[in-house]
């Protein structure tokens, strides 16, 4: 007899995270229960990301192990970056497209061996991998449930890891992965993350998840290590200008109409699109798009404070900032005409700016273009002045140092 799954799946860290979450503020993430915030607000959790070290359970990510003679061939045929060129221990951020050059998903590829890779993604991609692997000598395993994942992010992340890991992290460069050992468990640590800060991600066999968590929390206490939820992460990733599937773009596999799809160029991910490799999904369409120039670009918006304040003052109100990052679509105007939309936004406590991530049509995406973002005050739709900014908003040297 199989028990009826009547609850969301939990991650391997659930036994530790559940007692910490004060307001039972769970949310869904890839079919799992994930913490929105542990404390009453995400203030301290966000501060830990930018000031100390934050510990995030990112286990709901989908993870695939791809091995065999044709592993490189498969990935190079599927994704837009040049995988064959990746060094052993290198991690690539990349997207992958359908034949029309529209993004299906994005994630990281870690080269763990000559013929061994780990792919992470936001949505399930097993079927897509298998379809692309037809006739190839390659093994694709969905290891999502076998591997717990923690993100340790913040300026003191390295210090914390050096205190608990058997091997020092000092030599690990940005977007590289190494084997290591914590609390007697063999695991991998990559210098990656979703915060745009110094940070690491730990890839931990699920059965050993709790001891690793415990070791990090025990030693991390001295360095202000704070478990953090999605609310805090959301602010950090907007500051870092990182796109999010289902928020900033829709998968070509899920979109209902063509207009809902985005190409890597339209998301300003040009640097992830390689043309110095063989054929891959979407290459022809991407080549053509590069030649004619993308119709859309993904940019930052900085809301003009004076304008924002003035609009509120008309109602005799102080400026009301969003308490958490928003994920709705807000129209963006230029000279009275809609020229795009913002898909995420937040107040940056670090930069002291009201930021948004926006999709703008040509030619309105040039940096410093003056546009207007729709805001709502007292049930009225108004517009606040905003300026186009190049992403990321925040890019500290420690991220790569």
């Amino acid at each position: 007899m199989t028990p009826i799954p009547h609850q969301l799946q939990t991650t391997p860290f659930h036994a530790r995270t559940a007692p910490l979450i004060r307001g039972h503020t769970w949310r869904r993430w890839a079919g799992h229960a994930a913490a929105s915030v542990y404390d009453w607000t995400h203030e301290h959790e966000y501060a830990a990301i930018r000031n100390a070290a934050a510990l995030l359970d990112v286990s709901p990510l989908h993870k695939y192990r791809i091995t065999g003679r044709d592993a490189t061939r498969l990935l190079d045929r599927m994704v837009t970056r040049h995988v064959a060129r990746a060094a052993l221990g290198q991690v690539l951020y990349t997207g992958w497209c359908d034949a029309g050059g529209k993004l299906i998903d994005d994630g990281t590829i870690s080269r763990l061996g000559e013929q061994e890779f780990r792919l992470t993604s936001a949505e399930p991609n097993l079927r897509w991998l298998q379809r692309n692997a037809f006739g190839m000598q390659v093994t694709i395993e969905d290891i999502s449930d076998q591997l717990g994942a923690l993100a340790l992010q913040g300026p003191l992340a390295r210090t914390v890891l050096n205190a608990v890991a058997e091997r020092p992290l000092d030599g690990l460069k940005y977007f590289r992965v190494m084997d290591n050992r914590i609390a007697g468990t063999d695991l991998q640590i990559s210098r990656t993350g979703y915060t745009g800060d110094l940070g690491y991600e730990l890839w931990i066999p699920a059965p050993a998840a709790l001891p690793v968590w415990d070791a990090l929390v025990a030693r991390g206490a001295d360095y202000g290590l704070t478990p953090a939820g999605i609310w805090a992460l959301d602010v950090a990733r907007i500051e870092a200008g990182l796109v999010m599937l289902d928020v900033d773009y829709q998968s070509a596999h899920r979109a209902m109409i063509e207009a809902q799809m985005s190409s890597p160029f339209e998301l300003s991910l040009d640097w992830t699109v390689s043309f110095d490799k063989g054929p891959y999904n979407g290459r022809r369409a991407l080549q053509a798009e590069r030649e004619r120039g993308p119709a859309w670009r993904f940019v930052g918006l900085e809301v003009d404070w004076d304008s924002f304040e003035t609009q509120h003052a008309r109602f005799d109100l102080a400026p009301a900032l969003p308490a958490i990052a928003w994920r709705t679509s807000l129209p963006v105007y230029r000279a009275g005409r809609q020229v795009g939309y913002a898909s995420s936004g937040c107040w940056s406590p670090l930069l002291k700016k009201y930021l948004a991530l926006a999709h703008l049509t040509a030619p309105h995406f040039a940096p410093d273009t003056a546009v207007e973002l729709e805001i709502t005050i007292e049930h009225q739709r108004l517009r606040a002045a905003a300026a186009v900014r190049k992403l990321p908003f925040f890019d500290p040297p420690r991220k790569r140092a």
């Binding site: 007899m1 199989t2 009826i4 799954p5 009547h6 969301l8 799946q9 869904r28 079919g31 399930p124 991609n125 097993l126 079927r127 897509w128 298998q130 969905d142 596999h253 899920r254 209902m256």
Partner: protein, 525 residues
Amino acid sequence: MSNRFDAIVIGGGHNGLVTAAYLARAGRRVVVLERRELLGGAAVSEQVFPGFTFSVFSYVVSLLRPEIVRDLELPRHGLQILPLESTVTPLPDGDYLASWNDPDLTRRELCRHSRLDAEAIVEFGRLMHHIARSVKPFLSMVPPDPTSLSPRELRGLLRLGGHLESLGPERFHALYKLLTMSSADYLDEWFECEALKATKSASGIIGSFLGPRSPGSAYVLLHHYMGEIDGAFRAWGFCKGGNGTVSNAIAAAARAGGAVLRTGAAVQQVLVRNGRATGVVLADGEELSAPVVVSGLDARRTYLELVPERELPGELLAQVRRFRFRGSSGKVNLALSELPDFTCMPGVGPQHRGAFSISPSVDYLERAYDDAKYGSFSRRPYMDIVFPSMIDPGMAPPGQHVASIFVQYAPSRIDGGWTPERRAAFGDAVIDTLAEYAPNLKSAILHRQVLTPADIEEKIGISEGNIFHGELSLQQLFFLRPAAQWASFRTPIRGYYHCSSSAHPGGGVMGAAGRLAARVILGDR
């Protein structure tokens, strides 16, 4: 009471009632004549056993056209659709395959069986959504006649062509496959889990004398995806009070518009003078007259029984005689002292608020079809089981329950004909099969009602007991439903119309035929 009306509708099934309601709303004086004492045809709720109410025949809603719900304000007239939770397929090895009303839970469950299928089902659902959206306009279109060159038909054909072109290649190709393939073959292109393929392909055999491997069954599968509740395709719901509430709500809307609804009024003949319908004569000799007579009965009765043969062209009569009914399904309604306790999912839980599907493999379904092909009912049939009392407690006394079991195959033309003994044996086969999955079933049964196609025909008059008023096979659809050149709801007899599920777009408690017929009738005057 005057016997003169603007329109007479023969048969108080849901389509007849829909036509009557639309005509009444347009200001016509309408009378509906129902042979039984109860309105609703195959959409009726009856207290078959004291305290136990059953949706005796049709038992879920999904395909009911949302425009009818809106136009006739059915919620105001009592229609309340309650959600169905899940579909659970018990498996012979004691496991199960479930699909829940939540995508995350369903994914989690499917991952136990096949991670690939867990992904494929999302893409499949998306494609079917697109196709259902594409086909939706056809459902509310009077089929154009492709052989006619009249401006009206050409306009319809152009609309159709333009529509197909707008589908785009991926969806057009998928539609073409759905129209031509077997459901098993089509699903093989998508899935690997046997129970999943079987449970999905079961939608492709319902109401048809086809097996899951028979070409054409993929269309029936699509037909079941066209249902829409609150804007979501492929949503199935349960009607509070049973499916009789659907008919009663439409009847209430018709009455509110001034329609006269008569029960116990069996029509003997349609009166035809000079090639024109003038009224009807009832079994007791009473005559009613009207310039418009609409048959809500199936095509065979509409063309071959209600009107004199000499009034119709021979070619049409031949086509109607060839129109395939071949009822293939039966129904078992149970009054239960307790809910069946399924071995694969013990106890009482959310699973009882959804459907159980006895469809462990495509082979299982195909073997069930084999029995039927050679003149017997299936010894081990496909079943779709719901417990309406779990959704609407008013269907049974407190603590007790009703089960509605749709069963296939029960061929209308069984060797030796349907007898009380064969009906009982059929009922036993159903109970024995189900009891293998829920051992407490037999001791829980207080009463049982077994309905064979012969019973369906005898009770509610559908030829050969076919639940769709004729199979939904490609050669009987759209401009060929029920006959070439007569898919427009008109007949060769002026003033005589046809509004049943034998007409486009077919059955499944859609009401679409009734609405389209009313539109044609109102446009003709």
